[in-house]
């Protein structure tokens, strides 16, 4: 993936300055910065949701995203929430449901699931798309510490298994460290990227 951004404005107000972001296959980066720094704006440009910017965007064919909210279809069952957006088979979807701890909940409506379960369903949906790069926009922000910890564990495992790259938007450097994502800081107005020292990556908790 390669993004060469010359700049992005909202109503003439520049929010993002020149930014170049390049990702090798399976590489993981985290966009860090205070709220309002333009992290989500940059994420939406990478995801192709915002096309009004100056610059060049090259992304692999298969992208998937985990949003701040689960963004499920409340009128479709858990299984259909995986198969319909991603086009994957029901069997593959069931296997993923089992992997995120939702075995046997195929027929549940999203409203019948707790928020933690809804988020795991959204995670399963993202991996069902077999993404070459997974985009995550503050996916753990509104969770309590316990649930967030379990979501992080699950995300790390699925990322390792699938070999997908990662762009994570977060304000919490420890999340980035846990997922072994290279921290990149968004700073200034208009914001630019401040590449952290490479090689300073903390080891994965499981490797210790």
């Amino acid at each position: 993936m390669r993004l060469e951004l010359a700049g992005k404005q909202f109503d003439g107000r520049p929010v993002l300055g020149p930014i170049t972001l390049e990702l090798a296959p399976a590489q993981r980066v985290a966009l860090l910065g205070p709220s309002g720094a333009g992290k989500t704006t940059l994420m939406r440009i990478i995801a192709g949701l915002d096309t009004r910017f100056h610059g060049l965007r090259q992304v692999p064919e298969r992208l998937a995203m985990v949003f701040q909210e689960p963004n499920l279809l409340p009128w479709r069952t858990a299984l259909q929430n995986i198969t319909l957006p991603t086009g994957t088979t029901p069997d593959a979807a069931r296997a993923l449901l089992a992997q995120v701890g939702l075995e046997g909940r195929d027929a549940a409506w999203p409203r019948q699931l707790s928020l933690g379960q809804q988020r795991r369903l959204a995670l399963a949906r993202a991996f069902a798309a077999r993404p070459q790069i997974l985009l995550m926009d503050e996916p753990f922000a509104s969770l309590d510490a316990d649930t967030a910890g379990r979501m992080l564990d699950l995300t790390a495992r699925l990322l390792d298994d699938s070999g997908a790259g990662l762009v994570l938007v977060t304000h919490d450097p420890s999340e980035a460290a846990f997922l072994r994502a290279q921290p990149l800081r968004l700073r200034g107005t208009p914001a630019t990227l401040d590449v952290g020292e490479p090689g300073a990556l903390p080891p994965h908790p499981r490797d210790i």
């Binding site: 995801a47 192709g48 949701l49 992208l63 998937a64 995203m65 949003f67 909210e69 963004n71 279809l73 409340p74 009128w75 479709r76 259909q80 319909l84 957006p85 991603t86 027929a107 549940a108 409506w109 999203p110 409203r111 019948q112 699931l113 707790s114 928020l115 933690g116 379960q117 949906r125 798309a129 985009l135 969770l143 309590d144 316990d146 649930t147 379990r150």
Partner: protein, 267 residues
């Protein structure tokens, strides 16, 4: 927030169906009693026939087969106009709800059509197109299209941008998006438009038949009006009210209920 399934909310004990229906049945019986009393006091069957007399006429119409033919003709026109109005009005409303430009250009025409008396539309259609079925159905649909469009425009404006993002990131195809993302969000507005629409449409269909068709309930009403035959006018009206109530009860309501299944909190 825990990671466990939320407990099932305490559902209030549901009253049996007949208990919920009782007030409606009693009030209908009271109206019927009032009608019978007034008919007895007036003692002028030509002006206000008794319910029993009207029922007798209805029975005779059913036995002769006339009832089924004309009710069927009217019903066919209602359904044709309803389908045209829902599809055309729905597409127009959705387009106006999604595009501000379309809304600015089309809104004046919509407001004019919304305020044009039904009778004017009917008369103009008959004059311009001729006294035929096309004109009849088109004039009814034209009366209903703006109402459907306004309802669907509001619903189209309220579509969730988050779900739109989701569908775009995952590259859902346009038809799948319409079916699984857009239409379920519009379902409450479509149901409201359908139920208010069918009620409005059958009344306008009777006027259209009254003015320029040679069959249907409206045509029969015209005939009996010329003869001041109040008993038969009431018999036809009653028959068609029953048909429309049955459609609401047996088709529209069950469909609305099944479309709302996902709103339940616990299995």
């Amino acid at each position: 927030m825990s990671d466990r399934t939320p407990p099932a909310p305490a559902t209030p004990a549901r009253r049996p169906r007949w208990a919920a229906l009782a007030p409606g049945l009693i009030s209908a019986a009271l109206v019927l009693g009032l009608w019978a009393t007034l008919a007895a006091i007036g003692d002028d069957p030509r002006r206000l026939p008794s319910p029993l007399l009207v029922l007798g006429r209805l029975w005779a119409l059913g036995a002769s087969g006339e009832l089924w033919f004309h009710t069927g003709m009217t019903l066919a026109r209602v359904l044709a106009a309803f389908a045209v109005a829902m599809v055309a009005g729905g597409a127009l409303g959705l387009w106006m709800g999604r595009s501000a430009t379309a809304d600015r250009w089309l809104n004046p025409s919509l407001v004019v059509l919304l305020n044009l008396p039904a009778l004017v539309v009917i008369v103009l259609c008959y004059i311009w197109i001729g006294l035929n079925e096309t004109a009849a159905i088109l004039s009814v649909a034209l009366n209903k299209i703006p109402v459907v469009a306004v309802l669907l425009r509001e619903a189209g404006r309220a579509l969730s941008p988050d779900l739109d993002d989701m569908a775009r990131v995952f590259g859902m195809r346009p038809l799948a998006r319409l079916r699984h993302v857009v239409l379920p969000q519009l379902a409450p507005a479509i149901a409201a438009a359908a139920r208010s629409g069918i009620a409005l449409i059958w009344k306008i269909v009777l006027v259209v038949e009254f003015l320029g068709r040679s069959n249907g309930v409206g045509f029969k009403l015209h005939m009996h009006f010329s003869n001041f035959d109040v008993a038969r006018v009431l018999a036809w009206a009653l028959a068609f009210v029953v048909v429309m109530l049955l459609i609401d009860l047996l088709i529209l309501r069950p469909w609305q209920d099944s479309a709302n299944r996902w709103r339940q909190d616990a299995a």
